[in-house]
């Protein structure tokens, strides 16, 4: 019971400090006119590719995919901020927490999740003006819930990448960019989700792949296929487990070998 209480308290403080980190990163003006405007331009840019390909349906397909994928892509920020903890010398202190490093590192990066959910939901809302994709307010509420699932799923994968990057900090950019390219190529963002074969198997465990299908079905037919939601949840659990093993394993190895301090 006391352990659970400590865990909740730890996540609470992690959230609080992550909120302060986020506040240090942006003012409301730089967030609105810098960050959000840039993300909306990203969605618009890819919907332009769809338009250039020559069909309004392709444009709408790519616009919706790119709006949804903003969530998991935003969550990838935790890779860089976790490496930042190591470079900044704060990681050693976080490791002293009584429940182990995983909950505290998970909580410290949750602002990336919140940012991803908020920006992707705003993008979904403005899609009607950007690309003529109508997401009604009740639908948006369901999209929000699905977006929480999708972004957490992406966050779990990002934690696994953070585990590797904490051990090899220079790999951070390559891992994030490589995974972003995989996600944009295989998760059904710009082209239909690959089914079958090796590519289909990889696509099936990509975060957002199933959740995006659920959102597409919701926007097109007004129903959410339960199978896709469960599949996305399974992907979240899978990457959550991999993230736990990668993060704790990487940190344990570095503590044991005395290689944690970069300075």
């Amino acid at each position: 019971m006391r352990k659970a209480e400590a865990l909740i308290r730890q996540i609470g403080y992690g959230l609080l400090s992550s909120y302060q980190d986020y506040r240090a990163l942006y003012t409301w003006r730089s967030w609105l006119f810098g960050w959000l405007a840039r993300l909306l331009c990203q969605v618009l840019f890819f919907s332009m590719v769809g338009w250039a390909i020559g069909s309004a349906a392709t444009q709408r397909y790519m616009a919706l995919g790119n709006a949804v994928v903003l969530g998991p892509l935003g969550a990838f920020g935790v890779v860089s901020s976790s490496v930042g903890e190591r470079r900044g010398g704060t990681l050693q202190f976080l490791l002293l927490s009584r429940n182990g490093p995983f909950p505290v590192l998970l909580a410290r990066g949750l602002y990336w999740v919140a940012d991803g959910i908020v920006t992707s939901c705003i993008a979904l809302f403005v899609l009607r003006w950007l690309a003529d994709v109508e997401v009604s307010p009740p639908m948006l509420l369901v999209c929000f819930l699905l977006q929480v699932l999708i972004t957490l799923s992406g966050y779990s994968l990002a934690l696994a990448l953070a585990g590797i990057s904490l051990r090899w900090p220079e790999s951070r950019m390559y891992l994030t960019a490589g995974t972003t390219i995989l996600l944009m190529t295989l998760a059904g963002v710009n082209t239909p989700l690959p089914r079958g074969g090796v590519v289909g198997a990889i696509a099936a465990v990509m975060p957002a792949a199933h959740g995006l299908q659920a959102i597409r079905a919701l926007v097109a037919h007004g129903t959410v296929p339960a199978g896709e939601v469960f599949a996305e949840f399974a992907v979240l659990l899978l990457w959550g487990a991999v993230g736990y093993l990668a993060l704790t394993g990487s940190l344990r190895h570095q503590v044991r070998t005395g290689t944690l301090n970069l300075r």
Partner: protein
């Protein structure tokens, strides 16, 4: 001038992470090529190849070249350099141009990915025009990077600003849709931006479209020079303010 180029070259090859953008960003062409492959739209392959090339050049300028003052600060060479009233701005201008110019081979890299990986033809019918436009684009983009490095000194949140300067400028630069296809207010802005003339000329060079391109080339040259002069002037002003203690170099 050669000394400045040599210096920047040595700095870059001694810390390979500075070249990472050039390795990573071209692979975004895989996203574009896969999309075209999926929809059976090979006609757009030249446009997306050029898009990936210009995105790489722009990213290299924003995320690596624009950090030149910041890098000097970390290396401890900024203070002595600030004692030289004029040479430092010249050095920075040449160094930023050198770093940005390293993105030129990306055009070949992206074409190779398209040809070998996806079977797109991607011919360059007018290589001389492509080379001229690319060189001018390098100088203009470096000019923009100089402006950004000045803003990073003048504004406390300047570093975050660079992220915001990507996709909006890809749209303004006419990367996917040419200026003529954009709505009127955006089109007018696009016509003042050197990038849009550069991408237009690169597209023409790949397609081998006949006719004279002197008008577009002249406009690109003019806007590029203006961009470089504006960048150098703003950086000179930022450094002057830093010398007088009016800008925080250690924020």
């Amino acid at each position: 001038m050669t000394a400045f180029v040599q210096l920047q070259w040595l700095l870059l090859i001694r810390s390979p992470r500075l070249l990472a953008t050039l390795v990573i960003v071209p692979f975004y062409s895989v996203v574009f090529f896969t999309t075209l492959h999926g929809y059976g739209a090979p006609g757009l392959s030249a446009t997306v190849a050029l898009t990936a090339f210009v995105m790489s050049m722009w990213s290299q300028a924003m995320f690596v070249a624009a950090e030149v003052v910041d890098d000097d600060r970390w290396d401890g060479t900024l203070e002595p350099a600030l004692l030289t009233p004029d040479a430092y701005v010249r050095a920075l201008t040449v160094r930023v141009c050198t770093t940005t110019a390293l993105s030129l081979p990306v055009l070949v890299e992206v074409i190779a990915i398209g040809r070998i990986g996806f079977g797109f033809a991607l011919p360059v019918h007018r290589p001389l025009l492509a080379l001229t436009a690319s060189l001018l684009l390098v100088v203009g983009t470096a000019g923009f990077a100089l402006m950004v490095s000045a803003l990073m000194i003048l504004m406390p949140g300047g570093r975050n600003l660079r992220n915001a300067l990507t996709y909006p400028f890809y749209i303004l630069g006419g990367l996917i849709l040419p200026a003529a296809a954009l709505p009127v207010p955006v089109r007018q802005l696009t016509q003042l931006f050197f990038l849009s003339y550069g991408t237009q000329l690169l597209r023409a060079a790949m397609a081998g479209s006949s006719g004279s391109h002197w008008k577009d080339l002249s406009l690109l040259l003019l806007l590029t020079v203006l961009q470089l002069v504006a960048g150098a002037a703003l950086l000179r002003r930022a450094l002057s303010r830093a010398r007088h203690g009016e800008a925080r170099l250690y924020a």
